[in-house]
Symmetry: C2
Protein backbone atom coordinates (compact mmCIF):
# COMPACT_ATOMS: atom_id res chain seq x y z
CA UNK A 1 0.00 0.00 0.00
CA UNK A 2 1.28 3.45 -0.94
CA UNK A 3 0.05 6.55 0.83
CA UNK A 4 -0.75 9.47 -1.49
CA UNK A 5 0.91 12.45 0.13
CA UNK A 6 -1.17 15.45 -0.88
CA UNK A 7 0.81 17.76 1.34
CA UNK A 8 4.05 16.92 -0.43
CA UNK A 9 2.55 17.19 -3.93
CA UNK A 10 0.90 20.50 -3.07
CA UNK A 11 4.28 21.75 -1.85
CA UNK A 12 5.94 20.62 -5.09
CA UNK A 13 3.33 22.43 -7.19
CA UNK A 14 3.74 25.60 -5.17
CA UNK A 15 7.47 25.53 -5.82
CA UNK A 16 6.85 24.99 -9.55
CA UNK A 17 4.45 27.95 -9.65
CA UNK A 18 6.89 30.10 -7.68
CA UNK A 19 9.67 29.28 -10.15
CA UNK A 20 7.42 30.17 -13.07
CA UNK A 21 6.43 33.49 -11.51
CA UNK A 22 10.09 34.33 -10.95
CA UNK A 23 10.78 33.60 -14.63
CA UNK A 24 7.88 35.81 -15.72
CA UNK A 25 9.16 38.65 -13.54
CA UNK A 26 12.75 38.15 -14.72
CA UNK A 27 11.47 38.54 -18.28
CA UNK A 28 9.83 41.85 -17.39
CA UNK A 29 6.32 40.45 -16.99
CA UNK A 30 3.98 41.35 -14.17
CA UNK A 31 3.09 39.09 -11.25
CA UNK A 32 -0.24 37.23 -11.53
CA UNK A 33 -2.86 39.09 -9.52
CA UNK A 34 -5.67 37.40 -7.57
CA UNK A 35 -8.43 39.15 -5.65
CA UNK A 36 -10.67 37.59 -3.02
CA UNK A 37 -14.02 39.02 -1.98
CA UNK A 38 -15.01 38.11 1.57
CA UNK A 39 -18.39 38.93 3.07
CA UNK A 40 -19.11 38.91 6.79
CA UNK A 41 -17.24 37.19 9.60
CA UNK A 42 -17.79 33.45 9.24
CA UNK A 43 -14.79 31.89 10.97
CA UNK A 44 -14.23 29.22 8.33
CA UNK A 45 -14.45 31.67 5.45
CA UNK A 46 -12.08 34.13 7.12
CA UNK A 47 -9.54 31.36 7.66
CA UNK A 48 -9.80 30.05 4.09
CA UNK A 49 -9.38 33.50 2.58
CA UNK A 50 -6.42 34.25 4.85
CA UNK A 51 -4.74 31.05 3.59
CA UNK A 52 -5.43 32.01 -0.02
CA UNK A 53 -3.82 35.42 0.44
CA UNK A 54 -0.86 33.83 2.24
CA UNK A 55 -0.46 31.30 -0.59
CA UNK A 56 -0.32 34.17 -3.09
CA UNK A 57 2.49 35.79 -1.15
CA UNK A 58 4.38 32.51 -0.94
CA UNK A 59 4.53 32.10 -4.74
CA UNK A 60 5.06 35.77 -5.60
CA UNK A 61 1.52 36.65 -6.76
CA UNK A 62 -0.01 40.03 -6.13
CA UNK A 63 -3.21 39.72 -4.09
CA UNK A 64 -6.10 41.97 -3.11
CA UNK A 65 -8.63 41.44 -0.37
CA UNK A 66 -12.04 43.06 -0.63
CA UNK A 67 -14.13 42.99 2.54
CA UNK A 68 -17.84 43.57 3.01
CA UNK A 69 -20.08 43.42 6.03
CA UNK A 70 -22.91 40.88 6.12
CA UNK A 71 -25.46 43.48 5.12
CA UNK A 72 -23.92 44.25 1.72
CA UNK A 73 -26.67 44.25 -0.90
CA UNK A 74 -26.73 41.98 -3.93
CA UNK A 75 -26.55 45.06 -6.16
CA UNK A 76 -23.47 46.39 -4.38
CA UNK A 77 -21.77 43.03 -4.80
CA UNK A 78 -22.76 42.83 -8.48
CA UNK A 79 -21.36 46.33 -9.04
CA UNK A 80 -18.05 45.28 -7.46
CA UNK A 81 -17.92 42.14 -9.62
CA UNK A 82 -18.51 44.29 -12.69
CA UNK A 83 -15.60 46.48 -11.61
CA UNK A 84 -13.32 43.48 -11.03
CA UNK A 85 -14.34 41.98 -14.39
CA UNK A 86 -13.11 45.15 -16.07
CA UNK A 87 -9.96 45.70 -14.01
CA UNK A 88 -7.13 45.03 -16.48
CA UNK A 89 -4.56 44.61 -13.73
CA UNK A 90 -6.52 41.71 -12.21
CA UNK A 91 -6.09 38.20 -13.64
CA UNK A 92 -8.64 36.34 -11.56
CA UNK A 93 -10.85 36.66 -8.53
CA UNK A 94 -13.04 34.63 -6.24
CA UNK A 95 -16.08 35.41 -4.14
CA UNK A 96 -15.73 33.29 -0.99
CA UNK A 97 -18.77 31.06 -0.45
CA UNK A 98 -21.18 30.63 1.28
CA UNK A 99 -22.90 34.01 0.88
CA UNK A 100 -25.44 35.59 3.25
CA UNK A 101 -28.96 34.29 2.60
CA UNK A 102 -30.24 37.50 0.99
CA UNK A 103 -27.75 37.14 -1.88
CA UNK A 104 -28.43 34.67 -4.71
CA UNK A 105 -25.25 32.61 -4.95
CA UNK A 106 -25.77 31.41 -8.51
CA UNK A 107 -26.47 34.94 -9.73
CA UNK A 108 -23.18 36.12 -8.25
CA UNK A 109 -21.23 33.22 -9.77
CA UNK A 110 -22.74 33.81 -13.21
CA UNK A 111 -21.88 37.53 -13.02
CA UNK A 112 -18.16 36.76 -12.88
CA UNK A 113 -16.39 37.01 -16.23
CA UNK A 114 -15.57 33.36 -17.08
CA UNK A 115 -12.07 34.48 -18.07
CA UNK A 116 -11.42 35.52 -14.46
CA UNK A 117 -13.40 32.72 -12.79
CA UNK A 118 -10.43 30.97 -11.19
CA UNK A 119 -12.73 29.00 -8.88
CA UNK A 120 -14.12 27.34 -12.05
CA UNK A 121 -17.73 27.54 -10.84
CA UNK A 122 -19.19 29.55 -13.75
CA UNK A 123 -21.48 27.53 -16.05
CA UNK A 124 -19.35 28.46 -19.06
CA UNK A 125 -16.26 26.92 -17.44
CA UNK A 126 -18.14 23.83 -16.28
CA UNK A 127 -19.45 23.43 -19.85
CA UNK A 128 -15.98 23.82 -21.32
CA UNK A 129 -14.81 20.98 -19.09
CA UNK A 130 -17.64 18.76 -20.40
CA UNK A 131 -16.86 19.67 -24.01
CA UNK A 132 -13.15 19.06 -23.42
CA UNK A 133 -12.01 22.64 -24.02
CA UNK A 134 -9.29 24.27 -21.90
CA UNK A 135 -10.92 25.56 -18.73
CA UNK A 136 -10.54 26.46 -15.08
CA UNK A 137 -11.22 23.17 -13.29
CA UNK A 138 -12.53 23.66 -9.77
CA UNK A 139 -10.34 22.93 -6.76
CA UNK A 140 -11.17 19.40 -5.61
CA UNK A 141 -11.47 17.73 -9.04
CA UNK A 142 -8.23 19.47 -10.08
CA UNK A 143 -6.51 18.25 -6.93
CA UNK A 144 -7.59 14.65 -7.40
CA UNK A 145 -6.68 14.50 -11.10
CA UNK A 146 -3.29 16.00 -10.31
CA UNK A 147 -2.60 13.49 -7.52
CA UNK A 148 -3.50 10.60 -9.82
CA UNK A 149 -1.26 11.98 -12.54
CA UNK A 150 1.73 12.52 -10.28
CA UNK A 151 1.41 9.08 -8.71
CA UNK A 152 1.10 7.61 -12.25
CA UNK A 153 -2.12 5.83 -11.37
CA UNK A 154 -3.37 3.90 -14.40
CA UNK A 155 -6.90 5.00 -15.36
CA UNK A 156 -7.42 3.65 -18.90
CA UNK A 157 -10.17 1.05 -18.93
CA UNK A 158 -10.31 0.95 -15.11
CA UNK A 159 -13.66 0.65 -13.40
CA UNK A 160 -14.13 3.76 -11.35
CA UNK A 161 -16.95 4.42 -8.92
CA UNK A 162 -17.52 7.97 -7.72
CA UNK A 163 -19.78 8.05 -4.66
CA UNK A 164 -21.47 11.45 -4.60
CA UNK A 165 -22.80 13.66 -7.39
CA UNK A 166 -22.20 17.15 -5.97
CA UNK A 167 -21.66 20.02 -8.38
CA UNK A 168 -18.23 20.77 -6.93
CA UNK A 169 -16.76 17.28 -6.57
CA UNK A 170 -18.54 14.12 -7.71
CA UNK A 171 -20.10 15.39 -10.91
CA UNK A 172 -17.09 17.20 -12.43
CA UNK A 173 -14.67 14.50 -11.30
CA UNK A 174 -16.77 11.76 -12.91
CA UNK A 175 -16.69 13.67 -16.19
CA UNK A 176 -12.93 14.27 -16.08
CA UNK A 177 -12.19 10.62 -15.29
CA UNK A 178 -14.10 9.36 -18.31
CA UNK A 179 -12.80 11.92 -20.84
CA UNK A 180 -10.63 10.75 -23.73
CA UNK A 181 -7.04 10.28 -22.61
CA UNK A 182 -8.05 9.38 -19.05
CA UNK A 183 -10.51 6.73 -20.23
CA UNK A 184 -11.83 5.25 -17.00
CA UNK A 185 -15.25 3.58 -17.09
CA UNK A 186 -17.04 5.71 -14.54
CA UNK A 187 -20.17 5.05 -12.50
CA UNK A 188 -21.68 7.83 -10.41
CA UNK A 189 -23.30 6.46 -7.25
CA UNK A 190 -25.52 8.48 -4.93
CA UNK A 191 -28.16 8.25 -2.22
CA UNK A 192 -30.63 6.51 -4.57
CA UNK A 193 -28.15 3.89 -5.76
CA UNK A 194 -29.07 0.29 -5.00
CA UNK A 195 -26.48 -2.25 -3.81
CA UNK A 196 -23.91 0.49 -3.31
CA UNK A 197 -21.63 -1.77 -1.29
CA UNK A 198 -21.40 -4.32 -4.07
CA UNK A 199 -20.88 -1.60 -6.66
CA UNK A 200 -17.97 -0.12 -4.69
CA UNK A 201 -16.47 -3.57 -4.15
CA UNK A 202 -16.01 -3.92 -7.93
CA UNK A 203 -14.19 -0.61 -8.36
CA UNK A 204 -10.54 -0.45 -9.38
CA UNK A 205 -10.66 3.22 -8.39
CA UNK A 206 -13.05 4.29 -5.64
CA UNK A 207 -13.71 7.95 -4.92
CA UNK A 208 -15.66 8.65 -1.74
CA UNK A 209 -17.16 12.13 -1.91
CA UNK A 210 -20.42 11.89 -0.03
CA UNK A 211 -19.51 13.57 3.25
CA UNK A 212 -20.44 10.66 5.48
CA UNK A 213 -17.65 9.82 7.96
CA UNK A 214 -16.19 6.32 7.64
CA UNK A 215 -18.88 5.26 5.16
CA UNK A 216 -16.46 3.09 3.17
CA UNK A 217 -15.57 -0.07 5.07
CA UNK A 218 -13.20 -2.87 4.05
CA UNK A 219 -15.95 -5.11 2.67
CA UNK A 220 -16.66 -2.37 0.10
CA UNK A 221 -13.12 -2.26 -1.25
CA UNK A 222 -11.51 -4.58 -3.76
CA UNK A 223 -8.03 -5.94 -3.05
CA UNK A 224 -5.51 -3.62 -4.74
CA UNK A 225 -7.96 -0.78 -5.34
CA UNK A 226 -7.05 2.90 -5.45
CA UNK A 227 -9.09 4.79 -2.84
CA UNK A 228 -9.51 8.57 -2.92
CA UNK A 229 -11.12 10.01 0.20
CA UNK A 230 -12.71 13.43 -0.31
CA UNK A 231 -14.57 13.51 3.01
CA UNK A 232 -13.68 16.17 5.57
CA UNK A 233 -16.26 16.07 8.33
CA UNK A 234 -15.38 17.86 11.56
CA UNK A 235 -15.91 15.69 14.60
CA UNK A 236 -15.32 16.69 18.25
CA UNK A 237 -12.00 15.57 19.67
CA UNK A 238 -10.28 15.82 23.03
CA UNK A 239 -6.89 15.26 21.45
CA UNK A 240 -6.57 18.46 19.46
CA UNK A 241 -6.15 22.07 20.49
CA UNK A 242 -9.04 23.15 18.26
CA UNK A 243 -11.38 20.66 19.92
CA UNK A 244 -12.19 18.87 16.68
CA UNK A 245 -10.52 16.72 14.05
CA UNK A 246 -11.29 15.85 10.44
CA UNK A 247 -12.80 12.50 9.52
CA UNK A 248 -12.80 11.14 6.00
CA UNK A 249 -15.48 9.12 4.22
CA UNK A 250 -13.25 6.03 4.46
CA UNK A 251 -12.59 3.90 7.53
CA UNK A 252 -8.88 4.31 6.91
CA UNK A 253 -7.35 1.81 9.33
CA UNK A 254 -9.20 -1.20 7.99
CA UNK A 255 -9.39 -0.12 4.34
CA UNK A 256 -5.77 1.02 3.81
CA UNK A 257 -4.18 -2.47 4.00
CA UNK A 258 -6.29 -3.61 1.00
CA UNK A 259 -5.36 -0.66 -1.22
CA UNK A 260 -2.63 -0.15 -3.81
CA UNK A 261 -2.94 3.62 -3.18
CA UNK A 262 -4.96 5.59 -0.67
CA UNK A 263 -5.29 9.26 0.33
CA UNK A 264 -5.29 9.97 4.07
CA UNK A 265 -7.53 12.54 5.78
CA UNK A 266 -6.08 15.01 6.56
CA UNK A 267 -3.08 15.34 4.24
CA UNK A 268 -4.52 13.77 1.08
CA UNK A 269 -6.92 15.64 -1.18
CA UNK A 270 -7.31 18.62 1.18
CA UNK A 271 -3.92 20.31 0.70
CA UNK A 272 -4.34 20.03 -3.10
CA UNK A 273 -7.45 22.19 -3.22
CA UNK A 274 -5.50 25.26 -2.08
CA UNK A 275 -2.92 25.03 -4.86
CA UNK A 276 -5.60 24.76 -7.53
CA UNK A 277 -6.41 28.42 -7.03
CA UNK A 278 -2.77 29.34 -7.60
CA UNK A 279 -2.65 27.06 -10.63
CA UNK A 280 -5.77 28.63 -12.16
CA UNK A 281 -4.62 32.17 -11.44
CA UNK A 282 -1.34 31.46 -13.21
CA UNK A 283 -3.27 30.05 -16.20
CA UNK A 284 -5.43 33.19 -16.22
CA UNK A 285 -2.37 35.47 -16.12
CA UNK A 286 -0.80 33.54 -18.99
CA UNK A 287 -4.12 33.69 -20.88
CA UNK A 288 -3.89 29.95 -21.50
CA UNK A 289 -7.58 29.14 -21.18
CA UNK A 290 -9.22 31.92 -23.16
CA UNK A 291 -6.63 33.04 -25.68
CA UNK B 1 -42.49 -5.76 -24.81
CA UNK B 2 -43.69 -2.26 -25.57
CA UNK B 3 -42.41 -0.35 -28.57
CA UNK B 4 -41.56 3.29 -27.87
CA UNK B 5 -43.19 5.22 -30.69
CA UNK B 6 -41.06 8.33 -31.18
CA UNK B 7 -43.01 9.37 -34.24
CA UNK B 8 -46.25 9.49 -32.27
CA UNK B 9 -44.73 11.32 -29.29
CA UNK B 10 -43.03 13.83 -31.59
CA UNK B 11 -46.40 14.43 -33.26
CA UNK B 12 -48.05 14.95 -29.86
CA UNK B 13 -45.40 17.48 -28.84
CA UNK B 14 -45.78 19.37 -32.12
CA UNK B 15 -49.53 19.67 -31.50
CA UNK B 16 -48.88 20.90 -27.95
CA UNK B 17 -46.45 23.53 -29.22
CA UNK B 18 -48.86 24.57 -31.98
CA UNK B 19 -51.65 25.03 -29.43
CA UNK B 20 -49.37 27.14 -27.25
CA UNK B 21 -48.33 29.35 -30.17
CA UNK B 22 -51.99 29.88 -31.06
CA UNK B 23 -52.67 30.94 -27.48
CA UNK B 24 -49.73 33.36 -27.53
CA UNK B 25 -50.97 34.90 -30.76
CA UNK B 26 -54.56 35.07 -29.51
CA UNK B 27 -53.26 37.05 -26.53
CA UNK B 28 -51.59 39.54 -28.86
CA UNK B 29 -48.09 38.07 -28.55
CA UNK B 30 -45.74 37.50 -31.44
CA UNK B 31 -44.90 34.13 -32.98
CA UNK B 32 -41.61 32.55 -31.86
CA UNK B 33 -38.95 33.23 -34.49
CA UNK B 34 -36.18 30.78 -35.42
CA UNK B 35 -33.41 31.41 -37.93
CA UNK B 36 -31.20 28.77 -39.53
CA UNK B 37 -27.82 29.48 -41.08
CA UNK B 38 -26.87 27.01 -43.82
CA UNK B 39 -23.47 26.98 -45.50
CA UNK B 40 -22.76 25.22 -48.78
CA UNK B 41 -24.68 22.43 -50.48
CA UNK B 42 -24.18 19.29 -48.40
CA UNK B 43 -27.20 17.14 -49.22
CA UNK B 44 -27.78 16.01 -45.65
CA UNK B 45 -27.52 19.53 -44.24
CA UNK B 46 -29.86 20.94 -46.90
CA UNK B 47 -32.44 18.28 -46.08
CA UNK B 48 -32.19 18.79 -42.31
CA UNK B 49 -32.57 22.55 -42.58
CA UNK B 50 -35.53 22.21 -44.96
CA UNK B 51 -37.24 19.98 -42.36
CA UNK B 52 -36.53 22.50 -39.62
CA UNK B 53 -38.10 25.33 -41.61
CA UNK B 54 -41.08 23.11 -42.46
CA UNK B 55 -41.52 22.22 -38.79
CA UNK B 56 -41.60 25.92 -37.90
CA UNK B 57 -44.39 26.50 -40.40
CA UNK B 58 -46.33 23.53 -39.06
CA UNK B 59 -46.47 24.93 -35.51
CA UNK B 60 -46.94 28.59 -36.45
CA UNK B 61 -43.39 29.84 -35.82
CA UNK B 62 -41.80 32.52 -37.95
CA UNK B 63 -38.62 31.25 -39.59
CA UNK B 64 -35.70 32.75 -41.49
CA UNK B 65 -33.19 30.95 -43.67
CA UNK B 66 -29.74 32.46 -44.17
CA UNK B 67 -27.68 30.90 -46.94
CA UNK B 68 -23.94 31.13 -47.60
CA UNK B 69 -21.72 29.55 -50.19
CA UNK B 70 -18.93 27.21 -49.07
CA UNK B 71 -16.36 29.97 -49.38
CA UNK B 72 -17.86 32.26 -46.73
CA UNK B 73 -15.11 33.43 -44.40
CA UNK B 74 -15.07 32.83 -40.67
CA UNK B 75 -15.19 36.60 -40.13
CA UNK B 76 -18.27 36.99 -42.34
CA UNK B 77 -20.00 34.23 -40.42
CA UNK B 78 -19.02 35.75 -37.05
CA UNK B 79 -20.37 39.13 -38.19
CA UNK B 80 -23.68 37.52 -39.11
CA UNK B 81 -23.86 35.74 -35.75
CA UNK B 82 -23.23 39.06 -34.03
CA UNK B 83 -26.12 40.55 -36.01
CA UNK B 84 -28.44 37.65 -35.14
CA UNK B 85 -27.42 37.87 -31.46
CA UNK B 86 -28.60 41.48 -31.46
CA UNK B 87 -31.76 41.06 -33.56
CA UNK B 88 -34.58 41.65 -31.06
CA UNK B 89 -37.16 40.04 -33.32
CA UNK B 90 -35.25 36.75 -33.31
CA UNK B 91 -35.73 34.30 -30.41
CA UNK B 92 -33.22 31.66 -31.39
CA UNK B 93 -31.00 30.49 -34.21
CA UNK B 94 -28.85 27.60 -35.28
CA UNK B 95 -25.82 27.25 -37.50
CA UNK B 96 -26.20 23.93 -39.28
CA UNK B 97 -23.19 21.66 -38.73
CA UNK B 98 -20.80 20.44 -40.05
CA UNK B 99 -19.04 23.59 -41.24
CA UNK B 100 -16.47 23.86 -44.05
CA UNK B 101 -12.98 22.96 -42.87
CA UNK B 102 -11.64 26.52 -42.93
CA UNK B 103 -14.12 27.57 -40.24
CA UNK B 104 -13.49 26.68 -36.58
CA UNK B 105 -16.70 25.01 -35.42
CA UNK B 106 -16.18 25.61 -31.71
CA UNK B 107 -15.41 29.29 -32.27
CA UNK B 108 -18.69 29.69 -34.14
CA UNK B 109 -20.68 27.87 -31.47
CA UNK B 110 -19.14 29.96 -28.70
CA UNK B 111 -19.94 33.19 -30.59
CA UNK B 112 -23.69 32.49 -30.37
CA UNK B 113 -25.45 34.29 -27.52
CA UNK B 114 -26.32 31.47 -25.07
CA UNK B 115 -29.80 32.97 -24.73
CA UNK B 116 -30.44 32.24 -28.42
CA UNK B 117 -28.51 28.95 -28.58
CA UNK B 118 -31.51 26.70 -29.20
CA UNK B 119 -29.24 23.84 -30.32
CA UNK B 120 -27.87 23.82 -26.76
CA UNK B 121 -24.25 23.39 -27.89
CA UNK B 122 -22.76 26.51 -26.23
CA UNK B 123 -20.49 25.75 -23.25
CA UNK B 124 -22.60 28.00 -21.03
CA UNK B 125 -25.71 25.93 -21.75
CA UNK B 126 -23.88 22.63 -21.34
CA UNK B 127 -22.57 23.91 -18.00
CA UNK B 128 -26.04 24.99 -16.89
CA UNK B 129 -27.25 21.45 -17.53
CA UNK B 130 -24.46 20.06 -15.34
CA UNK B 131 -25.20 22.54 -12.56
CA UNK B 132 -28.92 21.79 -12.81
CA UNK B 133 -30.01 25.27 -13.96
CA UNK B 134 -32.71 25.77 -16.61
CA UNK B 135 -31.07 25.41 -20.02
CA UNK B 136 -31.45 24.51 -23.66
CA UNK B 137 -30.83 20.76 -23.72
CA UNK B 138 -29.53 19.54 -27.07
CA UNK B 139 -31.73 17.53 -29.41
CA UNK B 140 -30.96 13.88 -28.77
CA UNK B 141 -30.68 13.97 -24.96
CA UNK B 142 -33.88 16.04 -24.86
CA UNK B 143 -35.65 13.53 -27.10
CA UNK B 144 -34.61 10.53 -25.01
CA UNK B 145 -35.51 12.13 -21.67
CA UNK B 146 -38.89 13.14 -23.07
CA UNK B 147 -39.63 9.63 -24.38
CA UNK B 148 -38.77 8.14 -21.01
CA UNK B 149 -40.98 10.65 -19.23
CA UNK B 150 -43.97 10.12 -21.50
CA UNK B 151 -43.72 6.33 -21.30
CA UNK B 152 -43.41 6.68 -17.50
CA UNK B 153 -40.23 4.64 -17.42
CA UNK B 154 -38.99 4.33 -13.84
CA UNK B 155 -35.45 5.67 -13.47
CA UNK B 156 -34.93 6.12 -9.70
CA UNK B 157 -32.21 3.78 -8.49
CA UNK B 158 -32.09 1.93 -11.80
CA UNK B 159 -28.74 0.82 -13.17
CA UNK B 160 -28.23 2.63 -16.41
CA UNK B 161 -25.42 2.03 -18.88
CA UNK B 162 -24.80 4.62 -21.59
CA UNK B 163 -22.55 3.23 -24.32
CA UNK B 164 -20.81 6.19 -25.97
CA UNK B 165 -19.42 9.43 -24.52
CA UNK B 166 -19.98 11.87 -27.38
CA UNK B 167 -20.48 15.53 -26.57
CA UNK B 168 -23.89 15.59 -28.22
CA UNK B 169 -25.41 12.34 -26.92
CA UNK B 170 -23.69 10.05 -24.43
CA UNK B 171 -22.09 12.64 -22.18
CA UNK B 172 -25.07 14.99 -21.68
CA UNK B 173 -27.52 12.10 -21.45
CA UNK B 174 -25.47 10.39 -18.75
CA UNK B 175 -25.50 13.61 -16.73
CA UNK B 176 -29.25 14.14 -17.12
CA UNK B 177 -30.05 10.55 -16.14
CA UNK B 178 -28.16 10.82 -12.86
CA UNK B 179 -29.42 14.27 -11.81
CA UNK B 180 -31.58 14.61 -8.72
CA UNK B 181 -35.19 13.71 -9.48
CA UNK B 182 -34.20 11.27 -12.24
CA UNK B 183 -31.78 9.42 -9.96
CA UNK B 184 -30.49 6.59 -12.12
CA UNK B 185 -27.10 5.10 -11.26
CA UNK B 186 -25.28 5.78 -14.50
CA UNK B 187 -22.16 4.20 -15.97
CA UNK B 188 -20.62 5.67 -19.12
CA UNK B 189 -19.04 2.97 -21.28
CA UNK B 190 -16.79 3.65 -24.28
CA UNK B 191 -14.18 2.14 -26.56
CA UNK B 192 -11.73 1.66 -23.66
CA UNK B 193 -14.24 -0.07 -21.39
CA UNK B 194 -13.39 -3.63 -20.40
CA UNK B 195 -16.02 -6.39 -20.29
CA UNK B 196 -18.54 -4.16 -22.01
CA UNK B 197 -20.87 -7.07 -22.75
CA UNK B 198 -21.12 -8.03 -19.11
CA UNK B 199 -21.59 -4.41 -18.09
CA UNK B 200 -24.48 -3.98 -20.53
CA UNK B 201 -26.04 -7.26 -19.40
CA UNK B 202 -26.49 -5.81 -15.89
CA UNK B 203 -28.25 -2.65 -17.05
CA UNK B 204 -31.90 -1.97 -16.22
CA UNK B 205 -31.73 0.80 -18.81
CA UNK B 206 -29.32 0.46 -21.72
CA UNK B 207 -28.61 3.35 -24.06
CA UNK B 208 -26.66 2.48 -27.21
CA UNK B 209 -25.10 5.60 -28.67
CA UNK B 210 -21.85 4.48 -30.21
CA UNK B 211 -22.76 4.46 -33.91
CA UNK B 212 -21.87 0.83 -34.53
CA UNK B 213 -24.69 -1.02 -36.35
CA UNK B 214 -26.20 -3.95 -34.44
CA UNK B 215 -23.52 -3.78 -31.74
CA UNK B 216 -25.97 -4.75 -28.98
CA UNK B 217 -26.92 -8.42 -29.19
CA UNK B 218 -29.34 -10.38 -27.01
CA UNK B 219 -26.62 -11.77 -24.74
CA UNK B 220 -25.86 -8.16 -23.74
CA UNK B 221 -29.39 -7.38 -22.59
CA UNK B 222 -31.02 -8.26 -19.29
CA UNK B 223 -34.52 -9.74 -19.33
CA UNK B 224 -36.99 -6.88 -18.90
CA UNK B 225 -34.50 -4.09 -19.66
CA UNK B 226 -35.35 -0.77 -21.29
CA UNK B 227 -33.29 -0.34 -24.47
CA UNK B 228 -32.81 3.04 -26.14
CA UNK B 229 -31.18 2.85 -29.56
CA UNK B 230 -29.55 6.09 -30.70
CA UNK B 231 -27.70 4.60 -33.67
CA UNK B 232 -28.56 5.77 -37.17
CA UNK B 233 -25.99 4.37 -39.54
CA UNK B 234 -26.86 4.47 -43.25
CA UNK B 235 -26.36 1.11 -44.94
CA UNK B 236 -26.96 0.34 -48.63
CA UNK B 237 -30.32 -1.27 -49.37
CA UNK B 238 -32.06 -2.56 -52.50
CA UNK B 239 -35.43 -2.29 -50.82
CA UNK B 240 -35.70 1.50 -50.53
CA UNK B 241 -36.07 4.24 -53.12
CA UNK B 242 -33.15 6.18 -51.63
CA UNK B 243 -30.85 3.18 -51.94
CA UNK B 244 -30.07 3.05 -48.25
CA UNK B 245 -31.74 2.38 -44.94
CA UNK B 246 -30.98 3.26 -41.32
CA UNK B 247 -29.53 0.71 -38.97
CA UNK B 248 -29.53 1.15 -35.21
CA UNK B 249 -26.86 0.12 -32.71
CA UNK B 250 -29.15 -2.69 -31.49
CA UNK B 251 -29.85 -5.98 -33.24
CA UNK B 252 -33.55 -5.27 -32.89
CA UNK B 253 -35.13 -8.59 -33.89
CA UNK B 254 -33.32 -10.66 -31.29
CA UNK B 255 -33.11 -8.01 -28.55
CA UNK B 256 -36.70 -6.71 -28.62
CA UNK B 257 -38.36 -9.86 -27.18
CA UNK B 258 -36.25 -9.52 -24.00
CA UNK B 259 -37.12 -5.85 -23.38
CA UNK B 260 -39.82 -4.16 -21.35
CA UNK B 261 -39.46 -1.12 -23.64
CA UNK B 262 -37.41 -0.56 -26.79
CA UNK B 263 -37.03 2.21 -29.36
CA UNK B 264 -37.04 1.12 -33.00
CA UNK B 265 -34.76 2.58 -35.70
CA UNK B 266 -36.19 4.42 -37.54
CA UNK B 267 -39.15 5.83 -35.64
CA UNK B 268 -37.74 5.87 -32.12
CA UNK B 269 -35.29 8.55 -30.98
CA UNK B 270 -34.87 10.08 -34.46
CA UNK B 271 -38.22 11.86 -34.81
CA UNK B 272 -37.80 13.35 -31.34
CA UNK B 273 -34.64 15.27 -32.23
CA UNK B 274 -36.56 17.50 -34.65
CA UNK B 275 -39.14 18.61 -32.09
CA UNK B 276 -36.45 19.57 -29.59
CA UNK B 277 -35.58 22.58 -31.72
CA UNK B 278 -39.21 23.72 -31.66
CA UNK B 279 -39.35 23.10 -27.92
CA UNK B 280 -36.20 25.15 -27.27
CA UNK B 281 -37.30 27.97 -29.56
CA UNK B 282 -40.58 28.21 -27.68
CA UNK B 283 -38.65 28.32 -24.37
CA UNK B 284 -36.45 31.09 -25.80
CA UNK B 285 -39.47 33.09 -26.96
CA UNK B 286 -41.06 32.73 -23.53
CA UNK B 287 -37.73 33.70 -21.90
CA UNK B 288 -38.02 30.69 -19.62
CA UNK B 289 -34.35 29.76 -19.54
CA UNK B 290 -32.67 33.13 -19.04
CA UNK B 291 -35.24 35.30 -17.32
Amino acid sequence: MQLIDGKKVAGDIKLEIKAEVEKIKANGGKAPHLAAVLIGHDGGSETYVAYKIKDCEAVGFKSSLILYEDDVSEDQLLAKIHELNNDDDLDGFIVQLPLPEHIAEQKIIEAINPKKDVDGFHAANVGRMVIGLPTFVSATPFGIMELMKRYRIETKGKNCVVVGRSQIVGRPLSILLSQKGIDATVTVAHSRTKDIKELCAHADILVAALGSPEFVTKDMVKEGAVVIDVGTTRVPSDETKSGFRLKGDVLFDEVAPKCSFITPVPGGVGPMTRVSLLHNTLLAAKKEIYS
